[in-house]
């Protein structure tokens, strides 16, 4: 249940950033750095917007919440933990390399961190 809810929240945040990216609309921002982060070199990975990768990851995690057999739980844990580690690196990039903070990215960082914990705890139920 927690994995499904958090995945849905993460997908909503990532979906908003994907929407803003492809419609070239300005991201709503109270931290003042969202556009700087979204237009930085770190906002793409091999030409693919990081927001798109995030959306894909959250939808995959949502799928693992619905399909609860063991392999999916293991795959979900791998995806969530790797996502959290990568999010940690992107947080470092915001703070020390780009020198700007995107509030949507912070929300996503918290969500993927909680998802990593939830997905690892979910392994115990097997």
């Amino acid at each position: 249940m927690a994995v499904a809810g958090l995945s849905g929240l993460g997908a909503a945040v990532a979906g908003y950033l994907v929407y803003a990216r492809f419609t070239e609309t300005t991201v709503a921002c109270t931290t003042g750095g969202c556009e700087v982060v979204q237009r930085s070199d770190y906002a793409e990975l091999a030409g693919v917007p990081v927001a798109v990768l995030g959306l894909g990851a959250y939808l995959f995690l949502l799928g693992t919440a619905l399909l609860t057999f063991e392999l999916m739980r293991v795959a979900g844990a791998v995806a969530a933990v790797s996502g959290a580690l990568f999010a940690g690196y992107l947080l470092y990039a915001q703070l020390f390399l780009i020198d700007a903070i995107c509030q949507w990215c912070l929300v996503s960082d918290v969500v993927i961190g909680l998802l990593a914990v939830a997905c690892v705890l979910r392994l115990r139920s097997g």
């Binding site: 556009e35 700087v36 237009r39 990975l45 995806a79 933990v81 580690l85 990568f86 780009i98």
Partner: protein
């Protein structure tokens, strides 16, 4: 779930995260410019030769339309616009006397933005700002990596015929440069610029309005400029 499963999850997650981080770092660094590409003054000279420059403005002062480009010289999207659209817009609109482009330089990405911006505005005192801007975009390095070194700026200056590089380096902190930076910041604030590149345009001498530019190729601004010219 066995201990082995946890180890497997941790190892796989670590590997995937390491691959993602490595790809991100490589992507942020971008391709290493070759020496031939590093400073390409000839292309810039051919593009801008014969077009009047006055400080931060490129084109005839009596051009019917003024286009302001708000940009950060470290912004990769600004460099992409410079690469994809600037040449064609200059050829079709500026060289023909229809449009005057004004540089609205901002420096919000970091220290290298400020270094580059100061040098560009100092070059404006010699009416060579757009040569420097074009060359800085062509040689853009990873954000805040220290790529805007005096060595790079000297290399760029050496590629611009008649340009006095030492004078520009000395004038980076001059009151005129400070004033130009402050004026651009005020103009950007007035137009609520929140990202770069942002373009504002209007009939010369009249009010400027932010353009709803949808792409970074020439077609992103061409119909908007044509509309203004048709008024």
């Amino acid at each position: 779930m066995t201990r082995r499963t946890y180890v497997t999850v941790g190892a796989l997650a670590g590997l995937i995260a390491a691959a993602l981080i490595a790809a991100s770092i490589l992507g942020a660094q971008g391709p290493e410019p070759t020496q031939a590409h590093r400073v390409s003054g000839g292309d810039t000279e051919a593009l801008l030769d014969g077009i009047p420059q006055q400080g931060g403005a490129l084109g005839r002062p009596d051009a019917p339309v003024t286009l302001v480009e708000f940009a950060d010289l470290q912004c990769p999207y600004c460099a992409r616009w410079s690469q994809l659209a600037f040449g064609e817009i200059v050829h079709d609109y500026v060289r023909t006397g229809k449009v005057r482009i004004v540089f609205g330089g901002l420096s919000f990405i970091g220290p290298d933005s400020d270094e580059a911006l100061r040098f560009a505005y100092a070059a404006g005192d010699q009416d060579k700002l757009w040569n420097v801007v074009h060359l800085l975009y062509a040689n853009q390095g990873p954000e805040n990596s220290g790529w805007v070194s005096d060595e790079l700026l000297r290399g760029i200056g050496a590629e611009i015929p008649g340009f006095r590089t030492n004078r520009a380096l000395d004038e980076r902190t001059s009151p005129r440069v400070e004033q130009a930076i402050a004026s651009a910041a005020v103009l950007a604030e007035r137009h609520e610029v929140s990202g770069t590149p942002t373009f504002a345009a209007g009939r010369t001498g009249g009010m400027l309005a932010v353009l709803p530019v949808q792409s970074l190729d020439p077609e992103g601004v061409r119909p908007l400029l044509d509309q203004l010219l048709a008024r």
